[in-house]
């Protein structure tokens, strides 16, 4: 065997070539127009009907399309379909626009849309009551279907254009025929992006590729209405569990966009010329607390009012958000800044009136029954509220038992209707986007049919009657009037206690532009504009 020595100069050249190849390997894949996104949590549930989780809703907007859209002025606009309505407001005819294809290249049909609407309406807070107004849904031809009502309702168009948290996404009939209680696994949609199945890692990474067959509308985009023009090849969602790491990755140009930047990390991005911080959800989020109407002490309406009076919104918002530029007080149960926002009760709900609370406690003859407050420690956005509430209630004279747990345990606990001594609860706090909460059906806190309602189980027939009236109202003015009545009843009965509103900032690198301000997270219109 013979060996041949390599001259020193060649070794250097080979070494340099190897290094160059190594570096080329690094920059190769990143050169594609891939928007690297850090979402607020990992996507694990693909079915936007089974769950109301925001991450699944945002996933829905990527791969599915909606029949109707809503623009920034709360106008309902055509999206997949245009519609006409009969003079008696009882027959709506929807016509699908040309060029709509599923991701498997088959055409979108009226039957697909009917199946999708029916599946959504099995479980959704607007869909279930809407079905009581619907006499029939019939396909006229492949592109046209007709919905006939028993009586006029505003819920039909509002429901089909709903932004959150369970929009009516259109799916192929073979998928939409799955019972609503059974999660779907087929991700075929007709939206502007395609789901890349082979790259999906539940909880970690989701990849969406541009749907080249998608034909956007001609109008400019506004919220979920208008043209959904995709300018990037791929969007990669990843979940980074440590928020500090996510912010560092943004600074270091390893990701392009963070959906929600924690308030305490904002100073790290201050003054960075490469990064824009913007609250894209201009409506924002509201926080609130709810009480258990079934068990003492909050089975007594006076004590519910006492608790609501005791808590200062400013204290809550200072603890949860900290930056006054990002929060505002608000007494509306359907949110300030929404068409239905009304602030009845502002005079006693905002400030934290301990004297009023004490007086109500005395009037109610409070016997010291413990208030069990559930505190989630792992969800920053609602972790501090229970502590502030507990302090306010103690100062007012309540006996308080603050129980800490993780958010998922809390969600399970909320179903427990037992007395507090048997593991039940009295009060918990949560938060929701105003896009979800701006009407009495989308806002689950306003369901007040006792045990048939969600957690808290308030039983206020007057509100239920107003909700029915709201469903029958077909003009915005009539709806607003009923919403005002609901606000009054909800506050007087302690159905839900508003704790104020805030904006959660988004941050993105300036190499991308076109992020749409909207109450839901959308990735069409985004384009790469820099290096």
């Amino acid at each position: 065997m013979t060996t041949q020595s390599v001259p020193c100069t060649h070794r250097v050249a080979y070494g340099a070539a190897a290094l160059a190849m190594l570096l080329a390997l690094q920059v190769g894949p990143a050169a594609a127009q891939t928007l690297r996104v850090v979402m607020q949590s990992g996507l694990r549930i693909l079915d936007p009907v089974v769950t109301t989780g925001y991450i699944t809703r945002d996933h829905g907007y990527m791969i599915y399309d909606t029949l109707l859209g809503m623009d920034a002025d709360f106008n309902i606009r055509p999206q997949m379909a245009d519609w006409t309505v009969s003079d008696d407001n009882l027959t709506y005819t929807f016509t699908l626009r040309d060029g709509l294809l599923w991701h498997d290249s088959t055409p979108v049909t009226a039957q697909d849309c009917i199946a999708s609407i029916r599946r959504w309406a099995e479980v959704d807070g607007t869909g279930v009551p809407l079905m009581q107004f619907i006499a029939s849904i019939d396909a006229i031809d492949a592109k046209t279907f007709q919905i006939t009502l028993n009586e006029p309702t505003g819920l039909l168009l509002a429901g089909l254009a709903r932004l959150s948290s369970r929009p009516v996404f259109m799916m192929p009939a073979r998928v939409a025929n799955t019972p609503a209680s059974q999660p779907i696994t087929d991700t075929t949609g007709s939206g502007p992006f395609r789901f890349v199945t082979e790259d999906y890692q539940p909880g970690l990474r989701v990849v969406y590729a541009r749907n080249d067959a998608y034909v956007p509308r001609d109008e400019p985009p506004s919220w979920t209405a208008g043209g959904k023009v995709v300018n990037v090849d791929r969007v990669e969602w990843q979940a980074i569990p440590d928020q500090m790491t996510a912010v560092n990755a943004l600074i270091n140009d390893e990701v392009d966009y963070i959906q929600q930047v924690p308030f305490d990390l904002l100073p790290l991005l201050d003054g960075n010329p490469d990064i824009t911080v913007d609250a894209l959800d201009r409506m924002g989020t509201w926080t609130y607390f709810r009480m258990n109407h079934l068990q003492p002490p909050f089975d007594n309406p006076l004590l519910r009012r006492a608790a609501m009076a005791a808590v200062s919104q400013t204290d809550i918002l200072q603890a949860a958000v900290g930056n006054p530029d990002l929060f505002s007080t608000c007494a509306a149960v359907m949110g300030c800044g929404t068409p239905n926002g009304d602030e009845y009760g502002r005079d006693w709900l905002i400030e934290g009136n301990i004297d009023m609370a004490r007086a109500l406690l005395a009037e109610a003859g409070y016997d010291g029954a413990p208030v069990v407050i559930l505190q989630p420690t792992d969800l920053a956005i609602v972790a501090t509220q229970p502590i502030v509430i507990a302090d306010a209630l103690r100062r007012a004279g309540f006996t308080v038992d603050l129980r800490t747990m993780d958010w998922q345990t809390l969600q399970s606990q909320l179903r427990n209707q037992a007395p507090t001594l048997d593991g039940g609860w009295s009060l918990y706090s949560s938060a929701a986007t105003l896009a979800t909460s701006g009407d009495p059906f989308g806002n689950p806190n306003l369901a007040t049919a006792g045990l048939r309602s969600t957690t808290g189980w308030p039983d206020v027939p007057e509100i239920e009657a107003r909700r029915t009236a709201y469903a029958r109202a077909v003009t915005p003015a009539a709806q607003r009037d009923i919403a005002r009545q609901i606000q009054r009843l909800a506050i007087d009965n302690g159905v839900v206690a508003p704790l104020g509103q805030f904006h959660i900032p988004t941050a993105y690198r300036n190499s991308y532009s076109g992020f749409l301000p909207a109450p839901v997270t959308l990735f069409w219109n985004v384009a790469k504009t820099g290096g």
């Binding site: 769950t51 560092n248 990755a249 270091n252 390893e254 399970s412």
Partner: protein
Amino acid sequence: MIKRVFASVPVVAVTAIIVFALLRLTPGDPAAVLAGENATAQQVDQLRQTLGLDQPLPLQFWVWAQALLHGDLGLSLISGQPVTALIAGRMGPTLAVSVTSVLFTLIVAIPLGVAAAHKPGGAVDRLVSCIAAIGVSVPAFVIGYILIYLVALRMGWLPVQGYRPLSDGLWPHLQRLILPTLALSGAYIALVARMTRSSLIAILHADYIRTARAKGAPEHTVLLRHGLRNAAVPIVTVVGAGVASLITGVVVTESVFNLPGLGRLMVEALLARDYPVIQGLILLFALIYIAINLIVDLLYVALTPRLRTRQTL
């Protein structure tokens, strides 16, 4: 050896039963997680039926155990994906960071321990003690953040976070393992270096070491061949325990450096009450512990001639 393997079967079975029972006793409901905060009780009940969570516990266990015997760990209740696929997808980052951390620990800690034992009380010994104190007392995530700030953000030498598999190339793979390895190794370097030092000091007072020196053996031969080899049993024990805890305990490091490993999968599954995933992971961890203990036992035999003789006899 075969006896040891068979002896581990009941351990795994008992672990499976205990884990199954404990999970069902823990508050929480995967159907509630799946349905979301605003679902009605009726919707949650429907989901419980769909997921089979309304069945009696013994029946649920029987169904799961039967599938397990066929190598099927079931489907995740939340994502609907096969548990085996989820675990396989997360194995790479955990194994990679564990292997690099163990190798780095051995490369650094054993020479440090030997150097410290060579002259107890000397400058090197005190330096090693100082490093060990820092390594043990500073949590891995603090070291991680400091490394990210200095090496990734200030100097720009390495990425802040993420994982690339070996199939993406050696350098992209290693590039993302360097900082997690450094952060994770601190405590183990401290532990192994101190153990090496104390074991070696004890051995260096033995008669046969004195004899070796009297025969004129060079000091490095005395230290490494006669000393370190005979001090190896407790070191191997510590390294074995360290490997086991590395594989199962890298949760914080995986979070800080965004490594999609088994630790994160476990935390996510626990928070979501994703029973099949938790059960699958704990079984896997039990098997890893058993395998590592077996390997450590085999190394004892290889390192201790007396044990080999006894076995032969």
